[in-house]
Amino acid sequence: MPAEERSPVAVRFTGAAVQIGGRTVWSDVNLTADPGEFMAVLGPNGVGKSTLVKAALGLVALSAGTVTVLGRPAGQSGKEIGYLPQRRNFDTGLRVRGTDIVSLGSDGERWGVPLPWGDRLFPARRAAKDRVRQVIDLVGASAFADRPIGEISGGEQQRLLIAQALVKGPRLLVLDEPLDSLDLPSQAAVAALVSAICREQGVTVMLVAHDVNPILPYLDCVAYLAAGGAVCGPPEEVITSPTLTALYRTPIEVLRASDGRLVVVGEPEPPARHADRHADAVDRQ
């Protein structure tokens, strides 16, 4: 697609704020992701990272400011966004193949039932089926795509879910905590996969993460969210002691470990993770 037809920014929040149940989740958020960029949305638990993503998708209404996604107001670019919600894993007893989960990303919202032998009769059906195979190959899931999804590991499930989000060829990929609950090698593998998709397919990626370190080598920009607002920019400018101190209005220290990992010290975490998860679930109602 020629450059001038593309919108100049993929995602732009301007002075945005969200209130849920009378409580301001965050306010005065300004951030920009350019097309083809790999952006991480970071911040402590319960700060409203998922809400930010939902605002970009148009699932949560803003109380102030604007969101523009792929040149249109949020919620009007549905088919061009691949979305992977924050989730627990599939039930181990779910007897449905990974391939079927990916196919649902392609035609799951269509009414009716697929006709038997339809892919022999209709070229469009055949093309859709080929596309499913193609994205499964792309995410490296061919070896386990025909196994029941409940019986494969969390990292393997995550690859198939990324394939599902990619199957329609989106211009923006929105991934909510895709690395959550994965073991460290799987986190590294999925992060590398997302980065490769971003570079090779030219897809803008907006990835919500709790820990920046697995994705740090691949990031173009970071949106760091806190109760006071958000800071957006290249990771080396945002994840620094002065920037985070200004954002939180409380002393924060960013340390760099000998292997390059970043450690944020003094980050005001909510008192208990359990209660915080609960608050997050209430937010989603």
């Binding site: 449905v96 649902l104 035609d107 919202e109 070896a143 090698p185 679930a281």
Partner: protein
């Protein structure tokens, strides 16, 4: 010829011979058996189709309650003197709407609040059924039929009603099948893609109520799971391909019902027992087969096992 066969069967009673053709012919001599086979076939197909989605959605408890509700529905209909068939469907659909009206949130917690409501409805329905039976009085043989099934009393009119409801329910299911499948296995993504998840889950409960009311009329209110759960659970153990397991569910249901009706004809025991026994046998065979297959084929190690340094 037929008259002679009917006369001899009536005189000598139904008995099993070694001549399979004659045995099968004898099954269809009486119109009540023909009706029973028609009704059983309709019910097996409907229950299989809706039961497949019910097992996938883990809504067996809701399905059980919708079936239990048919007991007060039928008892109440007898009490106030309207058609029993109307009582079955009206009660099941009303209960489905009550369960569907429970406010739900996305994620796992919806199921928790649903099961509380479902349990409440079920207890109340059973109590109402007991009340209706005692109000009517002297109705005990009918009570056994309502709870554990009877195929003797299936009338041609009842077969027509079963067929009409089944056709309507399956037609609606055909329209919503794919989005319902999406919403059943992957609710959050389906919702983000614009699938009306809440509406589909309510509509599904109404269809499930229709299926449960149909099955109740053959197996009795307490044994509906024989046709709602067992064929689907069997098929989903055999294959993880959605289309294949869907059609296998219906095939298992049909075979179970046909065998059970034949067995009930040649014995003095209730048909519900045979439906349940054959369904359970199919499930045990499938489960044992899968265990054996995974024992012999378990060579694959989890992918991340080799990656640890």
């Amino acid at each position: 010829m037929i008259d002679a066969a009917v006369a001899s069967t009536v005189l000598e009673g139904s008995r099993l011979s070694w001549n399979i053709v004659a045995d099968i012919r004898q099954l269809f001599l009486f119109s009540f058996m023909v009706n029973a086979f028609r009704a059983g076939t309709i019910v097996a197909v409907t229950a299989g189709a809706l039961g497949w989605f019910m097992v996938l959605r883990r809504q067996a408890f809701a399905g059980h309650t919708l079936a239990i509700v048919s007991f007060p529905g039928a008892a109440g209909a007898i009490l106030i003197g309207i058609s029993v068939v109307v009582g079955y469907f009206a009660a099941a659909i009303a209960a489905a709407l009550v369960i569907a009206a429970v406010p739900r949130s996305p994620g796992g917690r919806a199921r928790t609040s649903e099961s509380a409501i479902v349990g409440t409805v079920q207890a109340f329905a059973l109590a109402c059924g007991a009340l209706f039976v005692s109000l009517y009085g002297g109705f005990l043989s009918g009570l056994t039929g309502l709870l554990f099934g009877s195929f003797l009393g299936v009338s041609p009119g009842q077969v027509d009603a079963l067929l009409a409801v089944a056709a309507a329910a399956l037609a609606v299911l055909g329209v919503i099948a794919r989005p319902l499948f999406f919403a059943s296995v992957d609710q959050d993504v389906a919702e983000a893609r614009g699938v009306p998840v809440r509406f589909l889950s309510g509509l599904f409960l109404v269809l499930l109520g229709c299926a449960a009311a149909e099955v109740s009329q053959i197996t009795g209110a307490l044994l509906v799971f024989a046709l709602l759960v067992m064929p689907a659970a069997t098929a989903q153990r055999v294959t993880a391909r959605p289309m294949a397991s869907f059609w296998l569910t219906i095939a298992v249901g049909l075979v179970v019902v046909w065998l059970a009706l034949a067995a009930a004809y040649y014995s003095v025991y209730p048909v519900g027992f045979f439906v349940t026994t054959f369904g359970f046998a199919a499930f045990v065979i499938a489960a044992a087969g899968r265990t054996a297959a995974s024992r012999s084929g378990r060579v694959r190690v989890p992918a991340h096992a080799g990656l640890t340094p």
